[in-house]
Symmetry: C2
Subunit: 264 residues, 2 copies
Amino acid sequence: MTEEEFLAEYDPRGYDPIAVTVDVVALTIRDGVLHVLLIRRAAPPFTGQWALPGGFVRAVEGEEDLQEAAARELAEETGLTVRALGRVHLEQLGTYGRPGRDPRMRVISVAYLAFGPEMPDPHAGSDAADASWVPVESLRLTAAASQAPGTTRKLAFDHSRILADGLERARAKLEYTPLATAFLGEAFTIPELRAVYESVWGEPLHAGNFHRKVLSVPGFVEGTGDTTPTGGRRGGPRARLYRAGDARLLHPALLRPSSEDDLR
Amino acid sequence: MTEEEFLAEYDPRGYDPIAVTVDVVALTIRDGVLHVLLIRRAAPPFTGQWALPGGFVRAVEGEEDLQEAAARELAEETGLTVRALGRVHLEQLGTYGRPGRDPRMRVISVAYLAFGPEMPDPHAGSDAADASWVPVESLRLTAAASQAPGTTRKLAFDHSRILADGLERARAKLEYTPLATAFLGEAFTIPELRAVYESVWGEPLHAGNFHRKVLSVPGFVEGTGDTTPTGGRRGGPRARLYRAGDARLLHPALLRPSSEDDLR
DNA sequence: GGAATAGTGTCTGTAAGACATTATTAG
DNA sequence: CTAATAATGTCTTACAGACACTATTCC
Protein backbone atom coordinates (compact mmCIF):
# COMPACT_ATOMS: atom_id res chain seq x y z
CA MET A 1 0.00 0.00 0.00
CA THR A 2 1.41 3.37 -0.92
CA GLU A 3 1.29 6.39 1.32
CA GLU A 4 -1.44 7.85 -0.87
CA GLU A 5 -3.62 4.74 -0.63
CA PHE A 6 -3.09 4.61 3.09
CA LEU A 7 -4.19 8.21 3.55
CA ALA A 8 -7.26 7.73 1.36
CA GLU A 9 -8.48 4.89 3.54
CA TYR A 10 -7.52 6.38 6.86
CA ASP A 11 -10.37 6.78 9.34
CA PRO A 12 -9.74 9.50 11.91
CA ARG A 13 -12.53 8.19 14.15
CA GLY A 14 -10.50 5.10 14.96
CA TYR A 15 -8.83 6.74 17.93
CA ASP A 16 -10.22 7.76 21.26
CA PRO A 17 -11.65 11.25 21.11
CA ILE A 18 -9.73 13.83 23.08
CA ALA A 19 -10.91 17.40 23.13
CA VAL A 20 -8.29 20.11 22.82
CA THR A 21 -8.81 23.55 24.28
CA VAL A 22 -6.73 26.69 24.33
CA ASP A 23 -6.65 28.78 27.48
CA VAL A 24 -5.01 32.17 27.85
CA VAL A 25 -3.30 33.75 30.83
CA ALA A 26 -3.53 37.38 29.78
CA LEU A 27 -1.62 39.80 31.98
CA THR A 28 -1.65 43.56 32.00
CA ILE A 29 -0.95 46.35 34.44
CA ARG A 30 -3.69 48.70 35.59
CA ASP A 31 -2.98 51.48 38.05
CA GLY A 32 0.38 49.94 38.84
CA VAL A 33 -1.15 46.59 39.77
CA LEU A 34 -0.78 43.34 37.84
CA HIS A 35 -4.14 42.08 36.54
CA VAL A 36 -5.22 38.87 34.84
CA LEU A 37 -8.18 38.51 32.48
CA LEU A 38 -10.84 36.19 33.90
CA ILE A 39 -14.32 35.20 32.82
CA ARG A 40 -17.16 33.95 34.96
CA ARG A 41 -18.53 30.72 33.56
CA ALA A 42 -22.14 30.81 32.37
CA ALA A 43 -22.47 27.08 31.67
CA PRO A 44 -21.54 23.82 33.39
CA PRO A 45 -19.16 22.64 34.52
CA PHE A 46 -18.12 25.08 37.24
CA THR A 47 -21.01 27.44 36.50
CA GLY A 48 -20.53 30.78 38.18
CA GLN A 49 -16.87 30.28 38.95
CA TRP A 50 -14.04 32.38 37.57
CA ALA A 51 -11.86 30.80 34.90
CA LEU A 52 -9.27 31.68 32.34
CA PRO A 53 -10.65 32.65 28.93
CA GLY A 54 -10.40 29.84 26.44
CA GLY A 55 -12.25 27.50 24.18
CA PHE A 56 -12.12 24.45 22.03
CA VAL A 57 -9.79 24.34 19.08
CA ARG A 58 -11.60 24.22 15.79
CA ALA A 59 -10.40 21.08 14.12
CA VAL A 60 -12.41 20.71 10.94
CA GLU A 61 -14.04 23.98 9.96
CA GLY A 62 -11.54 26.78 9.69
CA GLU A 63 -8.50 24.87 10.82
CA GLU A 64 -6.35 27.12 12.89
CA ASP A 65 -2.96 26.97 14.46
CA LEU A 66 -2.89 26.80 18.25
CA GLN A 67 -1.34 30.23 18.49
CA GLU A 68 -4.04 31.63 16.20
CA ALA A 69 -6.69 30.02 18.36
CA ALA A 70 -5.21 31.68 21.44
CA ALA A 71 -5.15 35.05 19.70
CA ARG A 72 -8.76 34.57 18.65
CA GLU A 73 -9.88 33.74 22.18
CA LEU A 74 -8.01 36.73 23.54
CA ALA A 75 -9.50 39.05 20.94
CA GLU A 76 -13.01 37.77 21.62
CA GLU A 77 -12.78 38.45 25.33
CA THR A 78 -10.96 41.76 25.21
CA GLY A 79 -13.12 43.11 22.42
CA LEU A 80 -10.03 43.98 20.44
CA THR A 81 -9.48 42.81 16.90
CA VAL A 82 -6.75 40.29 16.27
CA ARG A 83 -5.16 43.10 14.30
CA ALA A 84 -5.18 45.41 17.33
CA LEU A 85 -3.44 42.66 19.29
CA GLY A 86 -0.27 43.46 17.37
CA ARG A 87 1.53 44.93 20.33
CA VAL A 88 0.53 42.05 22.60
CA HIS A 89 3.14 39.40 23.29
CA LEU A 90 1.79 35.85 23.06
CA GLU A 91 3.74 32.69 23.80
CA GLN A 92 2.94 29.10 24.62
CA LEU A 93 2.99 28.37 28.33
CA GLY A 94 2.41 24.65 28.62
CA THR A 95 -0.07 21.84 28.16
CA TYR A 96 -2.24 20.39 30.88
CA GLY A 97 -3.74 16.96 30.38
CA ARG A 98 -4.18 15.27 33.72
CA PRO A 99 -7.09 12.82 33.54
CA GLY A 100 -10.08 14.18 35.42
CA ARG A 101 -9.14 17.84 35.13
CA ASP A 102 -12.39 18.32 33.21
CA PRO A 103 -15.37 16.32 34.54
CA ARG A 104 -16.97 16.06 31.09
CA MET A 105 -14.34 14.10 29.24
CA ARG A 106 -10.65 13.89 28.53
CA VAL A 107 -9.57 17.42 27.73
CA ILE A 108 -6.06 18.53 26.90
CA SER A 109 -5.57 22.23 27.38
CA VAL A 110 -2.80 24.17 25.71
CA ALA A 111 -2.17 27.28 27.76
CA TYR A 112 -0.83 30.52 26.33
CA LEU A 113 0.65 33.50 28.11
CA ALA A 114 -0.04 37.07 26.96
CA PHE A 115 1.49 40.40 28.00
CA GLY A 116 -0.12 43.61 26.87
CA PRO A 117 -0.43 47.29 27.66
CA GLU A 118 -3.51 48.57 29.46
CA MET A 119 -6.57 47.38 27.56
CA PRO A 120 -10.24 48.35 27.70
CA ASP A 121 -12.68 46.60 30.00
CA PRO A 122 -13.69 43.28 28.48
CA HIS A 123 -17.21 42.28 27.55
CA ALA A 124 -18.37 38.79 28.33
CA GLY A 125 -18.33 36.46 25.33
CA SER A 126 -20.76 33.73 24.47
CA ASP A 127 -19.86 31.26 27.20
CA ALA A 128 -19.25 33.85 29.88
CA ALA A 129 -21.59 35.53 32.32
CA ASP A 130 -18.99 38.16 33.09
CA ALA A 131 -15.45 39.09 32.24
CA SER A 132 -13.01 41.44 33.88
CA TRP A 133 -9.43 42.26 34.70
CA VAL A 134 -8.75 40.94 38.20
CA PRO A 135 -5.79 41.92 40.39
CA VAL A 136 -3.56 38.89 40.65
CA GLU A 137 -2.89 39.57 44.31
CA SER A 138 -6.57 39.17 45.15
CA LEU A 139 -6.49 35.54 44.09
CA ARG A 140 -4.01 34.50 46.80
CA LEU A 141 -2.64 31.64 44.75
CA THR A 142 -0.16 30.42 47.30
CA ALA A 143 -1.97 30.88 50.59
CA ALA A 144 -4.95 28.57 50.41
CA ALA A 145 -6.32 29.70 53.73
CA SER A 146 -7.88 32.89 54.98
CA GLN A 147 -9.96 34.19 52.12
CA ALA A 148 -11.57 37.48 52.94
CA PRO A 149 -15.31 37.57 52.20
CA GLY A 150 -15.93 38.77 48.68
CA THR A 151 -12.48 37.80 47.58
CA THR A 152 -12.28 35.89 44.36
CA ARG A 153 -12.09 32.20 45.05
CA LYS A 154 -10.20 29.36 43.51
CA LEU A 155 -10.52 29.22 39.74
CA ALA A 156 -12.37 26.54 37.77
CA PHE A 157 -10.63 23.39 36.52
CA ASP A 158 -6.88 23.52 37.22
CA HIS A 159 -6.74 27.14 36.17
CA SER A 160 -5.22 28.24 39.47
CA ARG A 161 -2.24 26.08 38.70
CA ILE A 162 -2.02 27.33 35.13
CA LEU A 163 -2.16 30.92 36.33
CA ALA A 164 0.54 30.24 38.91
CA ASP A 165 2.75 28.72 36.23
CA GLY A 166 2.09 31.70 33.99
CA LEU A 167 3.04 34.15 36.69
CA GLU A 168 6.26 32.33 37.41
CA ARG A 169 7.06 32.30 33.70
CA ALA A 170 6.33 36.02 33.45
CA ARG A 171 8.52 36.82 36.44
CA ALA A 172 11.38 34.77 35.02
CA LYS A 173 11.04 36.21 31.52
CA LEU A 174 11.42 39.76 32.77
CA GLU A 175 14.85 38.81 33.98
CA TYR A 176 16.41 37.88 30.68
CA THR A 177 14.16 39.28 27.97
CA PRO A 178 12.95 42.81 27.20
CA LEU A 179 9.32 41.70 27.47
CA ALA A 180 8.56 44.19 30.23
CA THR A 181 8.19 46.71 27.41
CA ALA A 182 5.20 44.71 26.13
CA PHE A 183 3.25 46.00 29.14
CA LEU A 184 3.85 49.60 28.07
CA GLY A 185 2.95 51.79 25.14
CA GLU A 186 5.15 52.78 22.25
CA ALA A 187 7.09 55.31 24.31
CA PHE A 188 7.78 55.02 28.02
CA THR A 189 10.04 56.31 30.75
CA ILE A 190 12.53 54.37 32.81
CA PRO A 191 10.45 54.86 35.98
CA GLU A 192 7.43 53.44 34.13
CA LEU A 193 9.51 50.45 33.11
CA ARG A 194 10.62 50.06 36.71
CA ALA A 195 6.98 50.11 37.79
CA VAL A 196 6.35 47.14 35.50
CA TYR A 197 9.12 45.15 37.12
CA GLU A 198 7.89 46.07 40.57
CA SER A 199 4.32 45.08 39.73
CA VAL A 200 5.24 41.71 38.26
CA TRP A 201 7.90 40.82 40.77
CA GLY A 202 5.90 42.24 43.64
CA GLU A 203 8.79 44.02 45.32
CA PRO A 204 10.31 47.47 45.21
CA LEU A 205 13.48 48.10 43.25
CA HIS A 206 16.20 50.65 43.80
CA ALA A 207 15.38 53.50 41.39
CA GLY A 208 18.92 54.70 40.79
CA ASN A 209 20.49 51.29 40.24
CA PHE A 210 17.62 50.16 38.04
CA HIS A 211 17.96 53.23 35.86
CA ARG A 212 21.68 52.81 35.30
CA LYS A 213 21.31 49.08 34.71
CA VAL A 214 18.60 49.34 32.07
CA LEU A 215 20.63 51.84 30.11
CA SER A 216 23.72 49.64 30.34
CA VAL A 217 22.07 46.65 28.65
CA PRO A 218 22.68 46.93 24.89
CA GLY A 219 19.50 47.04 22.83
CA PHE A 220 17.06 47.04 25.74
CA VAL A 221 15.76 50.58 25.19
CA GLU A 222 16.67 53.46 22.92
CA GLY A 223 15.96 57.11 23.60
CA THR A 224 13.44 59.00 21.51
CA GLY A 225 14.93 62.39 22.28
CA ASP A 226 11.67 63.56 23.84
CA THR A 227 10.65 63.90 27.44
CA THR A 228 7.34 63.72 29.22
CA PRO A 229 5.44 67.02 28.89
CA THR A 230 5.22 67.36 32.64
CA GLY A 231 6.91 66.14 35.77
CA GLY A 232 5.58 63.57 38.20
CA ARG A 233 2.34 64.05 40.11
CA ARG A 234 4.07 64.97 43.28
CA GLY A 235 6.98 66.82 41.71
CA GLY A 236 10.24 65.91 40.09
CA PRO A 237 11.79 66.69 36.74
CA ARG A 238 10.40 65.61 33.39
CA ALA A 239 11.54 62.10 32.44
CA ARG A 240 13.20 61.14 29.17
CA LEU A 241 11.20 58.91 26.85
CA TYR A 242 12.42 55.61 25.42
CA ARG A 243 11.11 52.92 23.10
CA ALA A 244 11.91 49.21 22.98
CA GLY A 245 15.27 48.38 21.44
CA ASP A 246 16.15 45.51 19.15
CA ALA A 247 17.53 43.09 21.74
CA ARG A 248 15.71 39.80 22.13
CA LEU A 249 17.67 38.76 25.20
CA LEU A 250 19.08 40.93 27.95
CA HIS A 251 22.77 40.64 28.57
CA PRO A 252 23.57 41.05 31.31
CA ALA A 253 20.23 39.99 32.75
CA LEU A 254 18.26 41.87 35.42
CA LEU A 255 18.07 39.36 38.22
CA ARG A 256 15.34 39.37 40.83
CA PRO A 257 16.41 40.42 44.31
CA SER A 258 14.51 37.47 45.77
CA SER A 259 17.25 34.87 45.81
CA GLU A 260 17.75 32.28 48.50
CA ASP A 261 14.84 30.32 47.01
CA ASP A 262 17.20 28.64 44.59
CA LEU A 263 18.22 26.14 47.20
CA ARG A 264 16.04 23.35 48.43
CA MET B 1 -30.14 21.82 34.93
CA THR B 2 -27.71 20.93 37.67
CA GLU B 3 -24.08 20.17 37.08
CA GLU B 4 -24.79 16.48 37.66
CA GLU B 5 -27.59 16.35 35.11
CA PHE B 6 -25.45 18.19 32.63
CA LEU B 7 -22.60 15.75 32.99
CA ALA B 8 -24.91 12.75 32.71
CA GLU B 9 -26.21 13.94 29.35
CA TYR B 10 -22.92 15.20 27.99
CA ASP B 11 -21.85 13.64 24.69
CA PRO B 12 -18.11 13.72 24.15
CA ARG B 13 -18.53 12.97 20.44
CA GLY B 14 -20.05 16.36 19.84
CA TYR B 15 -16.72 17.98 19.20
CA ASP B 16 -14.34 17.59 16.31
CA PRO B 17 -11.98 14.72 16.88
CA ILE B 18 -8.37 15.72 17.42
CA ALA B 19 -5.76 13.09 18.04
CA VAL B 20 -3.19 13.76 20.72
CA THR B 21 0.26 12.22 20.61
CA VAL B 22 3.26 12.41 22.89
CA ASP B 23 6.73 12.61 21.34
CA VAL B 24 9.99 12.44 23.23
CA VAL B 25 13.30 14.14 22.55
CA ALA B 26 15.57 11.83 24.54
CA LEU B 27 19.15 13.01 24.85
CA THR B 28 22.16 11.19 26.20
CA ILE B 29 25.91 11.32 25.78
CA ARG B 30 27.83 8.43 24.26
CA ASP B 31 31.59 8.57 23.85
CA GLY B 32 31.53 12.27 24.57
CA VAL B 33 29.03 12.98 21.80
CA LEU B 34 25.43 14.13 22.24
CA HIS B 35 22.95 11.58 20.87
CA VAL B 36 19.20 11.62 20.36
CA LEU B 37 16.94 8.57 20.34
CA LEU B 38 15.27 8.07 16.95
CA ILE B 39 13.11 5.36 15.43
CA ARG B 40 12.69 4.47 11.78
CA ARG B 41 9.01 4.44 10.87
CA ALA B 42 7.61 1.08 9.78
CA ALA B 43 4.17 2.34 8.75
CA PRO B 44 2.71 5.26 6.83
CA PRO B 45 2.96 8.14 6.87
CA PHE B 46 6.67 8.80 6.33
CA THR B 47 7.48 5.09 6.11
CA GLY B 48 11.22 4.51 6.33
CA GLN B 49 12.03 7.94 7.65
CA TRP B 50 13.56 8.68 11.02
CA ALA B 51 11.30 10.20 13.64
CA LEU B 52 11.14 10.92 17.33
CA PRO B 53 9.71 8.10 19.43
CA GLY B 54 6.14 8.73 20.42
CA GLY B 55 2.60 7.54 20.22
CA PHE B 56 -1.02 8.32 20.76
CA VAL B 57 -2.24 9.17 24.21
CA ARG B 58 -4.58 6.58 25.59
CA ALA B 59 -7.76 8.44 26.34
CA VAL B 60 -10.28 5.88 27.46
CA GLU B 61 -8.62 2.63 28.47
CA GLY B 62 -5.92 3.18 31.05
CA GLU B 63 -6.17 6.92 31.26
CA GLU B 64 -2.72 8.32 31.74
CA ASP B 65 -1.21 11.67 32.42
CA LEU B 66 0.79 13.20 29.60
CA GLN B 67 4.02 12.88 31.54
CA GLU B 68 3.25 9.22 32.24
CA ALA B 69 2.59 8.67 28.56
CA ALA B 70 5.96 10.17 27.71
CA ALA B 71 7.70 7.97 30.27
CA ARG B 72 5.93 4.93 28.86
CA GLU B 73 6.99 5.72 25.31
CA LEU B 74 10.56 6.29 26.41
CA ALA B 75 10.61 3.05 28.37
CA GLU B 76 9.21 1.10 25.44
CA GLU B 77 11.86 2.33 23.06
CA THR B 78 14.85 2.16 25.36
CA GLY B 79 13.90 -1.24 26.72
CA LEU B 80 14.16 0.10 30.23
CA THR B 81 11.38 -0.20 32.73
CA VAL B 82 9.63 2.95 33.81
CA ARG B 83 11.12 2.14 37.19
CA ALA B 84 14.65 2.14 35.77
CA LEU B 85 13.95 5.55 34.31
CA GLY B 86 14.20 6.97 37.79
CA ARG B 87 17.43 8.79 37.16
CA VAL B 88 16.17 10.22 33.85
CA HIS B 89 15.02 13.82 33.84
CA LEU B 90 11.77 14.35 31.96
CA GLU B 91 10.09 17.68 31.32
CA GLN B 92 7.51 19.07 28.96
CA LEU B 93 9.01 20.82 25.96
CA GLY B 94 6.06 22.24 24.06
CA THR B 95 3.02 21.43 22.00
CA TYR B 96 2.90 21.39 18.23
CA GLY B 97 -0.45 21.63 16.49
CA ARG B 98 -0.03 23.35 13.14
CA PRO B 99 -2.75 22.11 10.76
CA GLY B 100 -1.28 19.78 8.17
CA ARG B 101 1.67 18.66 10.25
CA ASP B 102 0.29 15.13 10.05
CA PRO B 103 -1.23 14.20 6.67
CA ARG B 104 -3.73 11.80 8.24
CA MET B 105 -5.75 14.17 10.37
CA ARG B 106 -5.49 16.94 12.89
CA VAL B 107 -2.87 15.81 15.38
CA ILE B 108 -1.68 17.78 18.37
CA SER B 109 1.66 16.57 19.62
CA VAL B 110 2.88 17.24 23.14
CA ALA B 111 6.67 17.00 23.09
CA TYR B 112 8.76 16.01 26.10
CA LEU B 113 12.47 16.42 26.70
CA ALA B 114 14.52 13.74 28.48
CA PHE B 115 18.08 13.75 29.77
CA GLY B 116 19.67 10.52 30.87
CA PRO B 117 22.99 8.79 31.46
CA GLU B 118 24.32 6.40 28.88
CA MET B 119 21.62 3.82 28.14
CA PRO B 120 21.66 0.49 26.33
CA ASP B 121 21.01 0.21 22.61
CA PRO B 122 17.29 0.43 21.96
CA HIS B 123 15.18 -2.25 20.31
CA ALA B 124 12.57 -1.22 17.80
CA GLY B 125 9.04 -1.17 19.20
CA SER B 126 5.84 -2.11 17.47
CA ASP B 127 5.58 0.77 15.05
CA ALA B 128 9.30 1.02 14.36
CA ALA B 129 11.49 -0.77 11.84
CA ASP B 130 14.59 0.32 13.70
CA ALA B 131 15.66 2.41 16.66
CA SER B 132 18.99 3.82 17.66
CA TRP B 133 20.90 6.59 19.35
CA VAL B 134 21.95 9.02 16.63
CA PRO B 135 24.62 11.74 17.02
CA VAL B 136 22.85 15.05 16.97
CA GLU B 137 25.59 16.61 14.87
CA SER B 138 24.93 14.17 12.03
CA LEU B 139 21.44 15.58 11.54
CA ARG B 140 22.66 19.03 10.50
CA LEU B 141 19.55 20.74 11.77
CA THR B 142 20.53 24.24 10.82
CA ALA B 143 22.32 23.80 7.49
CA ALA B 144 19.70 22.45 5.13
CA ALA B 145 22.11 22.03 2.26
CA SER B 146 25.02 19.69 1.58
CA GLN B 147 23.99 16.37 3.10
CA ALA B 148 26.74 13.83 2.75
CA PRO B 149 25.53 10.52 1.24
CA GLY B 150 24.44 8.17 3.93
CA THR B 151 23.84 10.98 6.35
CA THR B 152 20.56 10.85 8.19
CA ARG B 153 18.06 13.03 6.44
CA LYS B 154 15.35 15.32 7.63
CA LEU B 155 13.05 13.78 10.21
CA ALA B 156 9.40 12.87 9.67
CA PHE B 157 6.57 15.32 10.42
CA ASP B 158 7.89 18.51 12.04
CA HIS B 159 10.23 16.51 14.24
CA SER B 160 13.31 18.37 13.03
CA ARG B 161 11.81 21.51 14.46
CA ILE B 162 10.86 19.79 17.71
CA LEU B 163 14.36 18.40 18.05
CA ALA B 164 15.88 21.83 17.40
CA ASP B 165 13.64 23.34 20.07
CA GLY B 166 14.64 20.56 22.46
CA LEU B 167 18.33 21.14 21.86
CA GLU B 168 17.99 24.85 22.47
CA ARG B 169 16.06 24.15 25.67
CA ALA B 170 18.73 21.71 26.80
CA ARG B 171 21.52 24.16 26.11
CA ALA B 172 19.72 26.90 27.99
CA LYS B 173 18.85 24.68 30.95
CA LEU B 174 22.46 23.74 31.53
CA GLU B 175 23.14 27.38 32.19
CA TYR B 176 20.90 27.87 35.17
CA THR B 177 19.99 24.39 36.45
CA PRO B 178 22.12 21.48 37.64
CA LEU B 179 20.58 19.18 35.01
CA ALA B 180 23.95 18.40 33.45
CA THR B 181 24.29 15.88 36.26
CA ALA B 182 21.32 13.98 34.80
CA PHE B 183 23.60 12.90 31.96
CA LEU B 184 26.01 11.28 34.40
CA GLY B 185 25.93 8.42 36.87
CA GLU B 186 25.56 8.65 40.61
CA ALA B 187 29.17 9.76 41.10
CA PHE B 188 31.17 11.80 38.62
CA THR B 189 34.23 13.99 38.36
CA ILE B 190 34.38 17.67 37.49
CA PRO B 191 36.10 16.92 34.16
CA GLU B 192 33.27 14.52 33.31
CA LEU B 193 30.77 17.23 34.13
CA ARG B 194 32.72 19.62 31.94
CA ALA B 195 32.56 17.08 29.10
CA VAL B 196 28.75 17.15 29.37
CA TYR B 197 28.69 20.91 28.99
CA GLU B 198 31.10 20.74 26.07
CA SER B 199 29.04 18.06 24.33
CA VAL B 200 25.73 19.86 24.70
CA TRP B 201 27.02 23.35 24.00
CA GLY B 202 29.34 22.12 21.27
CA GLU B 203 32.30 24.20 22.30
CA PRO B 204 35.36 23.72 24.50
CA LEU B 205 35.46 25.23 27.97
CA HIS B 206 38.42 26.36 30.02
CA ALA B 207 39.16 23.49 32.40
CA GLY B 208 40.52 25.53 35.27
CA ASN B 209 37.88 28.20 35.32
CA PHE B 210 35.09 25.64 34.91
CA HIS B 211 36.38 23.65 37.85
CA ARG B 212 36.55 26.61 40.18
CA LYS B 213 33.18 27.89 39.04
CA VAL B 214 31.29 24.65 39.59
CA LEU B 215 32.63 24.36 43.11
CA SER B 216 31.70 27.97 43.83
CA VAL B 217 27.99 27.44 43.09
CA PRO B 218 26.25 26.45 46.33
CA GLY B 219 24.48 23.10 46.10
CA PHE B 220 25.57 22.21 42.59
CA VAL B 221 27.81 19.29 43.58
CA GLU B 222 29.02 17.80 46.82
CA GLY B 223 32.15 15.73 47.26
CA THR B 224 31.92 12.06 48.10
CA GLY B 225 35.39 11.91 49.61
CA ASP B 226 36.47 9.32 47.05
CA THR B 227 38.54 9.68 43.93
CA THR B 228 38.68 7.74 40.71
CA PRO B 229 40.72 4.54 41.13
CA THR B 230 43.05 5.58 38.34
CA GLY B 231 44.21 8.70 36.53
CA GLY B 232 43.26 9.73 33.03
CA ARG B 233 44.04 7.61 29.98
CA ARG B 234 46.96 9.72 28.99
CA GLY B 235 48.15 10.58 32.47
CA GLY B 236 47.23 13.01 35.15
CA PRO B 237 46.27 12.67 38.77
CA ARG B 238 43.18 10.84 40.03
CA ALA B 239 40.12 13.08 40.06
CA ARG B 240 37.88 13.65 43.05
CA LEU B 241 34.36 12.27 42.84
CA TYR B 242 31.18 14.29 43.37
CA ARG B 243 27.46 13.67 43.38
CA ALA B 244 24.62 16.05 42.55
CA GLY B 245 23.84 18.57 45.28
CA ASP B 246 20.44 19.80 46.41
CA ALA B 247 20.29 23.00 44.37
CA ARG B 248 17.49 23.24 41.84
CA LEU B 249 18.79 26.43 40.28
CA LEU B 250 22.37 27.52 39.83
CA HIS B 251 23.30 30.83 41.35
CA PRO B 252 25.35 32.27 39.89
CA ALA B 253 24.58 30.64 36.55
CA LEU B 254 27.13 29.15 34.17
CA LEU B 255 26.66 31.22 31.05
CA ARG B 256 27.55 30.01 27.59
CA PRO B 257 30.57 31.67 26.01
CA SER B 258 28.63 32.15 22.77
CA SER B 259 27.20 35.58 23.34
CA GLU B 260 26.76 38.26 20.71
CA ASP B 261 23.74 36.35 19.39
CA ASP B 262 21.54 38.01 21.95
CA LEU B 263 21.22 41.06 19.76
CA ARG B 264 19.21 41.20 16.61
C1' DG C 1 10.28 77.09 50.22
C1' DG C 2 9.51 72.04 50.85
C1' DA C 3 8.77 67.57 49.11
C1' DA C 4 9.14 64.35 45.64
C1' DT C 5 11.37 62.47 41.80
C1' DA C 6 14.85 61.85 37.55
C1' DG C 7 19.23 60.98 36.84
C1' DT C 8 24.34 60.57 38.00
C1' DG C 9 28.54 59.59 40.87
C1' DT C 10 31.14 56.74 44.09
C1' DC C 11 32.53 52.81 46.55
C1' DT C 12 32.75 47.82 47.77
C1' DG C 13 32.25 42.99 47.23
C1' DT C 14 31.63 39.39 43.91
C1' DA C 15 32.15 37.05 39.68
C1' DA C 16 34.13 35.96 34.95
C1' DG C 17 37.85 35.16 32.02
C1' DA C 18 42.76 34.93 30.80
C1' DC C 19 46.78 32.98 32.26
C1' DA C 20 50.21 30.78 35.19
C1' DT C 21 51.58 27.22 38.43
C1' DT C 22 51.80 22.97 41.09
C1' DA C 23 50.96 18.21 41.79
C1' DT C 24 50.01 13.63 40.25
C1' DT C 25 49.56 10.02 37.12
C1' DA C 26 50.32 6.96 32.51
C1' DG C 27 53.48 5.33 29.40
C1' DC D 1 61.83 11.22 32.06
C1' DT D 2 57.93 13.27 29.37
C1' DA D 3 53.37 14.32 28.35
C1' DA D 4 48.91 14.92 29.94
C1' DT D 5 45.76 16.30 33.23
C1' DA D 6 43.53 17.68 38.03
C1' DA D 7 43.38 21.35 40.88
C1' DT D 8 44.67 25.89 42.65
C1' DG D 9 46.46 30.76 42.45
C1' DT D 10 46.77 35.46 40.47
C1' DC D 11 45.35 39.35 38.01
C1' DT D 12 42.17 42.36 35.38
C1' DT D 13 37.80 43.82 34.09
C1' DA D 14 32.90 44.03 34.67
C1' DC D 15 28.87 44.20 37.23
C1' DA D 16 25.49 44.34 41.44
C1' DG D 17 24.03 46.72 45.25
C1' DA D 18 24.29 50.33 48.78
C1' DC D 19 24.51 55.05 49.35
C1' DA D 20 25.15 59.91 48.41
C1' DC D 21 24.23 63.77 45.70
C1' DT D 22 22.47 67.14 42.15
C1' DA D 23 18.89 68.95 39.35
C1' DT D 24 14.22 69.73 38.21
C1' DT D 25 9.44 70.02 38.91
C1' DC D 26 4.79 70.17 41.65
C1' DC D 27 2.31 72.23 45.31
